[in-house]
Chain length 320, copies 2
């Protein structure tokens, strides 16, 4: 069922006190390079370092007293884990997170640091969805899905609501896309607040299931994509909420290669002085690599997160 | 001659159209760690990546038509070079920059990119001040000093003016200190706008000439300090403007080691998602390393710049 703007607006009221209203940054250099006026919504400055906090906090805030006392369970390769862990701590809800044992160290540690219990699994052998479902079943915990849920997508859509409130109406909005929670929520907000704004999702080339689903208008599922954009290693959009919403509100998709993504990530570090994780750089990358002509347009770009393991990112910079 | 607040306020009007009003960021994690409410003024997001633009643009804007047409010369190991180059381009003033041949590559390239002519010298053999003076003499160019000048210090002081306007009165302001332009300008602004605010300068331990000058109330000159904080490799405060102003307005000095500075720099990258150069992290480092007790205080921290060579910074992170 497609998401509505009323749900995004209601979510905004519910998360306002705890979610950070992240700054919108601009860059003279990037405006000159693209010929556009670009507004970067910096969710890498969000609590726990990514937009995921908005959705997770919103979803947990909607649980009743009984659900809260029994706790929540989530499976995630990273940012959703930290988001549910932190939201759980803030709302006094116990959280169990099912994480792949090879998740970035910085994300495993941060999740534990927020007080969640971690259950690891082998991504080559185990089905994380089954593990989480079993936990939910045994302990009566509520499963918090990573994206295909109206509360999650509505919370994530507040990102674009704030961006347009702060920057004014946009001609074009570029949003990273994994499972489509952020993209669908942001598209709903943008189409309501700036009806002429074109909304484009950006995926890693190796994980272009969203683009293919959008073009064929039927849900395409792929094998887990091999990409450095670990937040977009999803196999399909969500059948329940994100795919129907995207079909209604999104205007197009673009893809970028891992090589382009790394280049964009380091460009943002070097020129804008912001630390962006690979998935967080997807939308900026499409713009910087000239995947579309933005000359003369007022463009919004969602930088979705900054939780990159500096050690391994640095290794890619240093010739050995 | 000590700087006045009227000079800082006048500078702000003159630079307002071109200097970026940089954001003030906060961090729940850092507030929890320090027990303070901390407001980071992010001059790493300033044009050309550092506060130096404020002073350079202000100084160049005060030249008369004849001086503008003959151009300017500056010597600098880095950010002042880029600042004068960019200000020159914006104001149509030709600029020659005298830079050490071993300056960070990212700074050499950026300076050239802003259209300045670069003259390099060997820092182990040549006297950059003499080279610049000879150029000024031969070509009738105006020498733009890096810090010991009322226009420079007044422009740089607008950093604290904006911080206090945006964050409200502070109890404590921590400012990086090299030659003292930023510190003296910020102290003048802070004492005027928040009279009860304590202002503390932070230096690298290897370059503690400012602390020693402050304590002895006489100008101490040291050999060029060996520190990763390349923006603070100054040998003394300025006898003309910055030292007298600091004596009147600053409450104390702190120092941090290079090891502490690296730790702070990477902490800011990892937790706040901002790229900060070593010199830019001085003030934040003093706070994060517990060099003073800030519990219960409303603290301002100036992050002065973000022009770090990612390749060499990365090399320090990656075990070889």
């Amino acid at each position: 069922m497609a998401l509505t703007y009323a749900e995004v607006a209601a979510a905004h009221e519910r998360i306002r006190a705890e979610a950070r209203r992240t700054p919108v940054l601009t860059s003279t250099t990037i405006d000159a390079r693209t010929g556009a006026t670009v507004h970067f919504k910096c969710e890498n400055f969000q609590r726990m370092g990514a937009f995921k906090f908005r959705g997770a906090y919103h979803a947990l805030s909607q649980l009743d007293a009984d659900q809260r006392s029994r706790g929540v369970v989530a499976f995630s390769s990273g940012n959703h884990a930290q988001a549910v862990a932190l939201a759980g701590r803030l709302l006094g809800v116990p959280a169990v997170i099912v994480m792949p044992e090879d998740a970035p160290k910085v994300k495993l540690e941060a999740t534990r640091g927020y007080g969640a219990q971690i259950v690891t699994y082998d991504p080559r052998r185990d089905d994380r969805q089954k593990i989480a479902a079993a936990l939910a079943d045994e302990r009566g915990m509520t499963l918090i899905p990573p994206y295909d849920d109206p509360h999650i997508a509505a919370g994530q859509g507040t990102t674009a609501k704030e961006l347009i409130e702060d920057a004014g109406p946009l001609d074009l909005l570029l949003v990273p896309c994994g499972g489509g929670g952020l993209l669908s929520g942001c598209a709903v907000a943008a189409k309501h607040l700036a009806p002429r704004c074109r909304v484009v999702g950006v995926e890693p080339a190796a994980g272009d299931d969203g683009a293919r689903s959008f073009r064929s208008r039927s849900l395409v599922t792929i094998a887990t994509p091999d990409t450095i954009a670990d937040g977009a290693r999803t196999t399909s959009l969500g059948p329940r909420v994100t795919f129907p919403t995207i079909l209604e509100t999104v205007d197009g998709f673009l893809t970028v290669t891992d090589e382009e993504l790394l280049r964009a990530m380091f460009y943002l570090w070097e020129r804008m002085k912001i630390v962006v994780e690979p998935t967080g750089a997807l939308a900026a990358c499409a713009l910087l690599e000239g995947k579309l002509d933005a000359r003369g347009l007022k463009v919004g770009v969602v930088i979705s997160g900054g939780n990159v393991d500096l050690g391994s990112a640095a290794a890619r910079l240093v010739p050995r």
